[in-house]
């Protein structure tokens, strides 16, 4: 027993000495280190290069830590938030309400004073729509103090792309993609007749279905009516919503949708399109880099989803693709903001865009981006995103809508049935909220 106690005391002594030594060395080390957690596998090398340049310029060490895939990253950030262990810079890959929760919990620094300094120099360097994703306006429904809480590092727009070679094979003009929905359906019938595959997309990951459904909802009924639906003032039983659901039925019937699209993940869809096995793809602007890696010779172009109505303009999802937030509890807040300013500056943004083929968030370097990427960037004015609507749909309603569209595509349910089911769930959730 005595010897056992002796061992315990010795272990405690060693532990104590090492702890003291650790504290002492921490105090001695005065080099500022900015830690950044990100999820962008394709950008790690470029980030490291920029970190090296920044260290050479300022002596501040920047440490980019990659945690992928994005699902794992999201969980890591949430877990770190619960333990107040977030790094100096991180990203919030979630809906606006979760972003708001991070701010309410005191994890994210309000960047407004920095954005507005020197006549708003930093703020004005960004595309307004990219900044809007990180902005909480006056009177926002989340109860957040108005301001900007993140800096966009690139821009995404989600659109359709088409294969020019396959267009030629189908006897179509490769410089004239369909602009109205009926033209798309006609091409769908040609695709079916030629035993080819039409539109591919990651519709197993349902958010991309949600995205296209929203595009058509904006086109068919306009923004106000869509937002009124979220507010509970318009039912999903409304004929306009039935029209939105019918878009998917018509696409299925015409043959424009590729076989098995509802169980297709986006990586598979990207491989199929890059290998010339599909005529169309519905994908984000990140695809330019992906397709370049998979098949540098691929001839394709971007296009807006063809309009199903002339009443309202077609809207596409877009805005800030990736954003960085500064940890409000960071020991190096000022240094971190300085770095972020430098990072989003014209020169660094142009470098990132050139290397990673993403649309820069800094509008001053748009002129230097390559062709297809510029096509994605051209439609920036048509973009919208749930994160800037100021109101959100109940997740169960969104889930029912997305799964309902999957059911329409596999011929299991009619647009009317799906509309009715989604409306019922919405009513139930509204009633719950009132109680």
């Amino acid at each position: 027993m005595k010897s056992f106690l002796r061992y315990c005391l010795a272990a405690l002594l060693i532990f104590g000495i090492s702890a003291l030594y650790g504290c002492a060395s921490k105090q001695e080390n005065k080099t500022v280190i900015i830690n950044i957690w990100h999820w962008m596998t394709d950008r790690q090398a470029a980030f490291k290069e920029l970190a090296a340049r920044y260290e050479a310029k300022t002596g501040v060490k920047v440490n980019f830590e990659l945690y992928a895939p994005s699902d794992a990253y999201t969980q890591k950030v949430r877990a770190a938030a619960q333990g107040n262990n977030l790094p100096d810079i991180f990203g919030v890959l979630a809906e606006k309400k979760d972003f708001a929760s991070f701010i309410k919990a005191g994890h994210i620094l309000d960047l407004t004073p920095y954005m507005d300094a020197v006549d708003g120099k930093w703020r004005s360097s960004f595309f307004a729509k990219a900044l809007a994703v990180n902005e909480f306006p006056e009177g926002n429904s989340y109860g957040i103090k108005p301001g900007v809480y993140g800096a966009p590092i690139d821009i995404t727009t989600i659109q359709m792309v088409y294969n020019k070679g396959l267009f030629k094979e189908l006897g179509l003009n490769p410089d004239n993609p369909p602009s109205i929905f009926d033209e798309l359906l006609k091409i769908g019938r040609k695709i079916k007749a030629n035993n080819m595959q039409g539109l591919v997309s990651g519709w197993a990951e349902v958010w991309m279905i949600d995205c296209l459904a929203n595009n058509y909802a904006f086109n068919i009924m306009g923004e106000e009516k869509v937002l009124d639906t979220l507010r509970g003032k318009v039912s999903y039983n409304d004929p306009d919503w039935v029209k939105v659901f019918s878009v998917f039925k018509e696409m299925r019937d015409s043959g424009v949708l590729a076989s098995g699209i509802v169980t297709m993940i986006n990586k598979t869809a990207e491989q199929l399109f890059a290998n010339g096995k599909a005529v169309f793809a519905f994908n984000g602007s990140w695809c330019v880099n992906v397709y370049k890696g998979m098949n540098p010779d691929l001839e394709y172009a971007a296009m807006l989803p063809p309009k199903a109505s002339d009443k309202y303009p077609m809207a596409i999802w877009g805005g800030a693709g990736s954003s960085f937030m500064v940890n409000a509890r960071s020991q190096n807040k000022e240094e971190t903001v300085k770095f972020l300013k430098w990072f989003t500056d014209k020169e660094q943004q142009a470098y990132l865009s050139g290397v990673t083929q993403n649309i820069p968030a800094n509008k001053d370097c748009l002129g230097s981006i390559p062709g297809t990427l510029a096509q994605f960037a051209d439609d920036m004015e048509l973009t919208t995103h749930p994160n800037i609507w100021g109101i959100w749909e109940f997740p169960v309603v969104t889930e029912a809508l997305d799964k309902g569209i999957q059911s329409i595509i596999i011929g299991e349910k009619s647009p009317e049935q799906v509309a009715s089911e989604v409306a019922k769930i919405k009513e139930r959730e509204m009633a719950k909220k009132k109680n």
């Binding site: 027993m1 994890h107 990951e205 098995g260 699209i261 096995k277």
Partner: protein, 296 residues
């Protein structure tokens, strides 16, 4: 002196108790506690809702019950097809056949593969547009062109395909345990039965089956626990819940956490699911206990 000895014993078990508490007891209590709250996983404040999350699971969440039904179907296929296959192969490998060690090794390859890899490989084998389309080619080659279709994107066949691939991946465990069980049966028993005039079928019925019941119970319990919790395979094979047709409880829990940001509800789902598994295992144990008594 006696007290000192007792204390010494406690000191020796203390590390194990601490590790067990930190990694099992405390998380379990914490998950149960979180199940009583509405919490988004980010805010430091949580709203106490009592048993409302559990009530919602039972009365207002048809998607949850649908996912349990799907998991039950996968489990049923695993209990019958997978375990029958595992038992038959183990029985064959227990005999004096050529290359039996090679077979043992080959049959144990699928279980050691990652579920997501198995899902993606089988997706490639089965699927038409992005795969080798082997099943359809075989069907067409054998003169059944009417049966050719997209097996993974058809609501009628998607879950069965998941169950069959899961069985392919899982039968190796059962095979190994059955084989170990068969090897514990003394050969003298078979020799004695042969001397008494029993044929192979009777020996199998009167010796092999009764002595293998405890092993069968073990395999059945492990199969239920493993099959009910399948989900990475589904992500690899069909990309997700596929309009609810391939939804399983683990995917629903993930959706509650990630899509809806309802950590409290997800914890309540986890607790309910765990409870269901415990009840099923208990019923299985009681049932097999009675069967064993009857056979004795």
């Amino acid at each position: 002196m006696k007290l000192k000895a007792v204390l010494e014993n406690y000191v020796f078990v203390l590390p194990a108790v601490i590790i067990f508490s930190i990694f099992y007891i405390i998380p379990f209590v914490w998950v149960f506690q979180l199940g009583l709250y509405e919490w988004d996983g980010i805010l430091p404040t949580k709203l106490f809702v009592g048993i409302n999350n559990f009530k919602e699971i039972v009365f207002e969440d048809p998607a949850w019950w649908g996912s349990l039904w799907n998991a039950g179907y996968i489990t049923l296929i695993a209990l019958t097809f997978q375990n029958a296959l595992a038992f038959l192969l183990a029985w064959a490998c227990d005999r004096e056949i050529r290359m039996k060690n090679f077979y043992r090794m080959v049959f144990f390859i699928p279980p050691v593969l990652s579920e997501i890899v198995v899902g993606m490989v089988w997706r490639f084998i089965i699927n038409d547009i992005d795969g080798a389309n082997i099943i359809n080619r075989m069907l067409a080659g054998m003169g059944f062109p009417d049966l050719v279709h997209n097996w993974l994107s058809d609501p009628e066949t998607a879950l069965t395909m998941v169950a069959l691939v899961h069985s392919w991946k899982g039968f190796g465990w059962g095979f190994l345990i059955f084989l170990a069980g068969l090897q514990t049966i003394p050969h003298e028993l078979y020799e004695a039965s042969r001397v008494d005039g029993a044929n192979a079928r009777e020996s199998f019925k009167k010796i092999t089956i009764p002595l293998m019941i405890p092993v069968m119970v073990l395999v059945a319990i492990l199969t239920v626990l493993g099959s009910m919790q399948v989900f990475e395979l589904i992500l690899g094979l069909v990309g997700g819940e596929f309009a609810g047709h391939t939804s399983v409880p683990a995917l629903r829990i993930l959706a509650s956490m990630r899509v809806s940001s309802r950590f409290g509800y997800a914890c309540a789902q986890g607790i309910s699911f765990g409870l269901i598994l415990v009840i099923i295992s208990f019923i299985q144990y009681r049932f097999s206990h009675k069967a064993r008594q009857a056979s004795n």
